[in-house]
Amino acid sequence: MLDKRMTEDEVVAQLADGMTLGIGGWASRRKPMSLVRAIARSSLRDLTVVSYAGADVGLLCALGKVKKVVFAFASLDSIALEPHFRAARQRGIEAEEYDEGMLQWGLYAAANRLPFLPTRAGLGSDVFGRTSHVRTVRSPYEDGEELIAMPAITLDAAIIHMHRADKSGNGQCLGPDLYFDDLFCMAAKRRYMSCEKLIDTADLTREGSVQTLRINRMMVDGVVHAPFGAHFTECPPDYGRDEAFQQLYAATAKDPAALERFVERFVQPVSASAYREAVLAR
């Protein structure tokens, strides 16, 4: 089996300006933050980011990496609104807004190599005509019903974070919800997965049942060993959300100097251990 191990910075080296990037997780839950930080400290720019958004999108917006956001919401869960994302929207950053089920449908269409998938979600609301460019399609059957044709959201690259993985890209989700991480991978041309622990394939089913092996190696091009890699978002059962740290992050939206300090202390450190030390020393 292929050995797909690489570092965060090696992942970033495979990305390019202007790419459409999908980011797994949900709000402030199991976000691939070590990869997000690596992108944040890189020279990458003009990204289109697609996400069930939280601090991933917020941080990348705050650091000027983003040209356009494709989203349904942005939240930090315990802090209802993502402050950096709000600021970016209120500055007029380019955006495309969908219902969250439509977002799933767009990723699923891309995963299935379909141009669109029909749905009722979006009809009558402002996602039709105002916040996106979706069109409708008429059923070819007797009902003749008009439905939203949710276009495929094809991604140049996707990043996700799993609890366990092997070096060939089999990923294990031990938490309560996979969210849409598999769809992000299946909708993308290049797929990168970070993991809390990198283990032997034979040990995967010692960690959890075969049903927890939700990402298979066909879906992954690069594996990054990233202990604490979702911090400060939650990654249960390995760890919960770091609420105090999240508050520190959120406060940087009101204070450019604080953001600068935050970047210096918590975005610049490259290794997992240096980041961990910085977090513990705060």
Partner: protein, 262 residues
């Protein structure tokens, strides 16, 4: 109907308890559907309904587990009897199947029940970015929806919402019968009263005012003209048993009171 015995236990019924009762009543007749209450008082209401007159409702723990039991709100690590698994992927399946009643909030809501949780101002560059559409478009076009507004003001009850997240009756009607046949707005409950869409052209109508609230209080706090009957009743009193469930079982820490404007 359940009894509407007046509570004369000396403690009186608080405003948030009227909200909880009214929201619970919005779920009457739902049967075996998933209730998704957004916020504390809607969660209290859904649990009260399940414990009293709608025992077949399905509720999640807010993560991915369907709970057979009804733990109190706001308690860390409550004991949960799991009866099923409901991750986000399955939630959208349920939404689109129609077996769901959502109780959402509203940054803005208009006369026909169009709701905005997306952004205030001009969408391309809003003056205030709110949460985003989240599931509001899909929810409203697919299944029963109610709204809870803890602070009833003219800024929320507006002539025209800036962005339509949740679909109202005028827009649903414009879509035609085929597209709008699953659209159903059941109730709007605010800290002032209870509303439905029984007015002309399915516009918002006052159903009841919470005790202590006058018609002029509501008129003053609403930007559009509300439909009303000549006589407006008071929001019903909780029964003694409902009050006990509210105070002792569902919300022993009194979290519901903190959510509404007094």
């Amino acid at each position: 109907m359940t009894s509407v015995t007046n509570v004369t236990n000396g403690t009186g019924v608080a405003r948030h308890e009227y909200c909880a009762i009214a929201l619970a009543d919005a779920l009457r007749g739902s049967g075996e559907v998933l209730v998704s209450p957004i916020g504390v008082l809607p969660s209290i209401a859904a649990r009260l309904a399940k414990l009293s007159f709608e025992p077949d409702l399905l509720l999640t723990d807010g993560v991915a587990t369907l709970m057979a039991n009804v733990p109190p709100v706001g308690v860390d690590n409550p004991e949960i009897v799991a009866e099923g698994y409901m991750p986000y992927r399955s939630i959208f399946d349920v939404v689109w199947s129609g077996r769901r009643h959502v109780i959402m909030g509203a940054g803005q809501i208009d006369r026909f029940g169009n709701q905005n949780i997306s952004a205030v101002g001009d969408w391309p560059r809003p003056s205030a970015q709110l949460l985003g559409m989240r599931g509001a478009p899909g929810n409203t076009i697919n299944h029963a929806t109610s709204y809870f507004v803890p602070g009833h003001t003219r800024r929320v009850f507006v002539d025209r919402v800036d962005v339509v997240s949740g679909v109202g009756y005028d827009r649903a009607r414009a879509l035609g019968v085929a597209a709008s046949r699953f659209h159903r707005l059941v109730r709007v409950v605010s800290n002032l009263g209870v509303f439905d869409f029984g007015g002309p052209d399915r516009s918002m109508r006052v159903r009841s005012l919470h005790p202590g609230v006058s018609w002029s209080d509501v008129e003053r706090a609403t930007s559009f003209e509300l439909a009303r009957e000549p006589e407006i009743g008071a929001t019903r009193e909780p029964s003694a048993e409902e009050l006990r469930l509210l105070r002792e079982v569902v919300d022993p820490r009194g979290l519901g009171a903190k959510e509404i404007a007094q």
